[in-house]
């Protein structure tokens, strides 16, 4: 058998830190525990906002299996702001179409991004080890990120205004102090255990087999899902393309299936041959998993802030796990930076929990519903599910109930940071959600997109009507129609913009307030609200 180390795609060395020779616990503003997609995103975002971060990870490698492969538009927009989406999109497989089959017949197809005019695609598929190695590479470019491998947190002691962490390394133990700790240490979070926190939610006893296989195949680049296929004894199946000619095949197993026996190569190959026929293929990663839909009651415990799988877990249907974790990371990063700089009140930290608990509940609800549809709990539930599938080709209402996973989209947060609309606005831009992207030409003529031109600070978009608005300090002004030109009319459409319309954006590109006319006083009030001042 291969050892875990053999399967590692990327290995990193332990390096002794000067903090280990300091004699006393060295103080840091932020320590992130866990160098996965969530922890790395948070650390890079904080560093780019001028906050230096130490990341601690108990391992020294990434890449035991492809794991998460679907990265959503919002996640890519966040990584684009951090300067690394381009390399991921280039390496990844871009897709937006899904097909759902019942038996061997197509019953339903969907398009996750039917409109043009967005920089980022609906989804890319990319093995998690490529994502993590790109994030590690980006972190290495930044002086503000100090990534320490084989640093295992073994103790946590809350103090009045900081947290003391006890850490084990190959050179022995040392302590660190942090103003804030971000716990991004995954589903089996050590920090959660150290604080004695428990989850609330459901554990499913359904089992699924993941087999990533390498093969040359010309299957279409789309998400294909089968209910009751002839090739897999009527159990649900999923096929999805990854880079390097790797294909994700996900097969529902019996609840009573023997997880060890199911992972034996001969058994896996026999199953795959029924799907893939005589085509030659090579299994690359095999895993049997069960899943949970559950969360912590509170995400903030004193100065320890939980994010990603450490805070909440979902079934994989809908790609809502890692994508929601990356959005947690972005949500907390600007807030911590603003509080540490003294620009915002402590209430801003509390708003992380308000907003991301809503996202967690939404993701848990969607992934639970998908699981109920994909893996019915009983014969009686399966009858209802099969009736929906039988009606689907003939009745639109039934097609809308077919649920093979509702794919991750950005959450619309109902948040105290937003100022309610005083006048009605139509269109897809929503308070408490990331603003929609639109193509905009710079005054100098360069084409581009709105999101890539946002500064990552509080920012006002003002639709030119000849006025000369003045803004509070620290807020960037962009005049639509002067700084950026709406050649396609899509800004007007997606923002329901009229001359004079004014939009206040958060540093995480979320819409905080909007008005039909520019009013400096109102902007000041909304800014105060947005920063919990």
């Amino acid at each position: 058998m291969e050892t875990a180390a053999d399967k590692a795609r990327f290995r990193y060395g332990y390096r002794r830190s000067p903090d280990q020779d300091a004699g006393a616990a060295a103080p840091h503003p932020v320590i992130v525990v866990g160098a996965g997609p969530v922890g790395l995103t948070a650390a890079i975002d904080l560093a780019l906002r001028g906050v230096s971060v130490v990341i601690l990870d108990d391992s020294d490698r990434i890449g035991e299996g492809s794991r998460g492969i679907c990265w959503s538009k919002r996640t890519l927009e966040i990584w684009d702001r951090l300067g690394l989406a381009a390399r991921m999109v280039e390496k990844g497989v871009t897709w937006k179409l899904g097909k759902v089959f019942c038996g061997d017949d197509l019953v339903y197809g969907f398009d996750l991004q039917p409109e043009d005019g967005h920089k980022m695609p609906a989804f890319i598929n990319l093995q998690q080890y490529y994502v993590e190695s790109a994030l590690v590479g980006r972190a290495a470019e930044l002086d503000g990120v100090d990534l320490r491998w084989r640093n295992k947190v073994v103790g946590l002691e809350p103090r009045n205004d900081h947290v003391r962490l006890a850490i084990d390394t190959p050179d022995g133990p040392y302590d660190l102090d942090a103003d804030w700790v971000i716990a991004a240490d995954g589903a089996r979070s050590t920090l959660r255990e150290l604080l004695g926190l428990t989850f609330r939610g459901v554990t499913f006893d359904d089992q699924f087999l993941i087999a990533d296989v390498r093969m040359a195949a010309d299957f279409p680049t789309e998400r294909r899902f089968w209910f009751n296929p002839t090739f897999h004894n009527g159990q649900s199946s999923l096929m999805h393309r990854q880079p390097d000619n790797v294909w994700r095949i996900d097969l529902q197993l019996d609840r009573a299936a023997d997880a060890v026996a199911e992972q034996q190569p001969a058994r896996v190959i026999e199953r795959l041959k029924r799907i893939l026929g005589d085509r030659s293929f090579e299994p690359e990663w095999v895993s049997v998993y069960r899943f949970n839909c559950r969360r912590l009651d509170r995400f903030i415990h004193g100065r320890v802030i939980f994010a990603g799988d450490a805070a909440h877990q979902v079934s994989p249907f809908g790609a809502r796990g890692a994508n929601s974790g990356v959005q947690d990371a972005e949500n907390i990063a600007w807030k911590l930076a603003a509080v540490l700089r003294g620009e915002a009140g402590f209430g801003l930290i509390a708003s992380y929990e308000v907003e991301r608990a809503q996202a967690a509940d939404e993701n848990i609800a969607h992934s639970t519903r998908s699981t109920d549809f994909i893996a019915p709990h009983s014969a009686a539930e399966r009858r209802l599910r099969d009736a929906v599938l039988a009606l689907a080709p003939r009745a639109e209402f039934a097609r809308r109930m077919v649920n093979s996973g509702r794919l991750s989209v950005a959450t619309v947060h109902d948040t105290p940071l937003s100022s309610p609309d005083e006048a009605p606005f139509r269109g897809p831009a929503r308070l408490g959600a990331p603003v929609p992207d639109v193509p905009l030409r710079a005054r100098a003529g360069t084409p581009g997109f709105l999101l890539e031109r946002l500064a990552g600070t509080p920012e006002v978009l003002y639709v030119d009507d000849g006025g000369r608005p003045s803004l509070p300090a620290g807020v960037k002004l962009t005049v639509i129609g002067d700084d950026l030109i709406d050649e396609t009319g899509l800004f007007a459409q997606r923002f329901d913009a009229t001359p004079g319309a004014t939009y206040l954006l958060r540093p995480d590109q979320h819409l905080a307030a909007r008005w039909r006319a520019f009013d400096g006083h109102k902007i000041g009030q909304a800014l105060g609200r947005m920063l919990a001042r």
Binding site: S378, A380, D386
Partner: protein, 66 residues
């Protein structure tokens, strides 16, 4: 002239499906069939239109089970 509406009418179709699934959670197939029979009668009366009911029966009968 068809009167039966097969276009989706629920704002959140997943929520409607979940309500139906949760109603039968823990029931045997037989107990769920009893529940469904009562549901059919209640909803048929709520619709209160014999033409719609006849069309719905025809659609249900003609759909191939999978």
């Amino acid at each position: 002239m068809a009167k039966l509406v097969t276009a989706s009418r629920f704002a959140d179709p997943d929520a409607a499906y979940v309500a139906l699934v949760e109603a039968r959670r823990g029931l045997t197939v037989e107990a769920a069939a009893d529940l469904d029979a009562k549901l059919v009668l209640i909803l048929a009366n709520h619709i209160g239109d014999i033409d719609v009911l006849t069309e719905a029966i025809a659609l249900a009968r003609n759909v191939q089970d999978r």
